[in-house]
């Protein structure tokens, strides 16, 4: 009855393998890598310059996980270039962050899901007064 033993043993292996996969899926995501740490620090430093622009509504949190120049009308002409550069740099860091988190967890294909999760959390956690994009339209929190 060796084949029966083999069947039992291989099913046991399959079940254990599936359980291990589930454990990985339900645990924490790896976010403590040097690349993610560097991106976080870069974004944290930039935030000092971005915060007043969020407050005044010049930039807003977009539904796609990026930030957007929403209303430049209150911005002096000379500041538009630098603000545009800030927005572009922030969005580049955000894209790299989403990609790095997916990669650090061994699933580069998760990048879009990571981005969607962040998009929701940035908007949910934004303080009152900031402009956010929800359901296609912009509104002030």
């Amino acid at each position: 009855m060796i084949p029966l033993m083999t069947v039992v043993r291989s099913w046991l292996a399959i079940i254990l393998f599936a359980a291990a996969g589930l454990a990985v899926a339900q645990g924490n995501l790896e976010i403590d890598t040097p690349a993610i740490g560097a991106l976080k620090q870069s974004m944290q430093q930039r935030h000092a310059q971005l915060a007043p622009l969020y407050d005044s509504g010049v930039i807003g949190l977009a539904a796609d996980g990026n930030i957007t120049l929403r209303d430049a009308s209150g911005l002096p002409l000379a500041q538009r270039g630098p603000v545009n550069a800030l927005v572009a740099a922030e969005n580049a860091d955000r894209a790299a962050l989403y990609r790095e988190i997916a990669r650090a967890n061994g699933h580069p294909e998760w990048e879009a899901d990571v981005r969607a999760t962040f998009a929701e959390r940035w908007i949910d956690r934004a303080p009152a007064g900031w402009w956010v994009q929800r359901g296609g339209g912009w509104g002030r929190k």
């Binding site: 083999t6 599936a18 995501l29 999760t117």
Partner: protein, 63 residues
């Protein structure tokens, strides 16, 4: 001969099933939200803003 064939078939089943498990792990949405919140806390410095470093006035000493 039959034993050999069944072992080969089992091998194929094990290989294909384990490959499915490895490739098709679903996206861990709850873990991703937790990770996002931790990063947002750091980038926006929300924890420091939430707990201002104002020292507690010492009460009961003026008596």
């Amino acid at each position: 001969m039959t034993a050999l064939r069944s072992i080969a078939m089992l091998g194929a089943i094990v290989a294909s099933t384990s490959a499915c498990v490895t490739i098709n792990i679903y996206f861990p949405a709850a873990a991703a939200e937790k990770a996002a919140d931790r990063i947002i806390d750091d980038v926006w410095q929300l924890r420091e803003r939430a707990t201002p470093a104002a020292p507690q006035p010492v009460e009961g000493e003026a008596k």
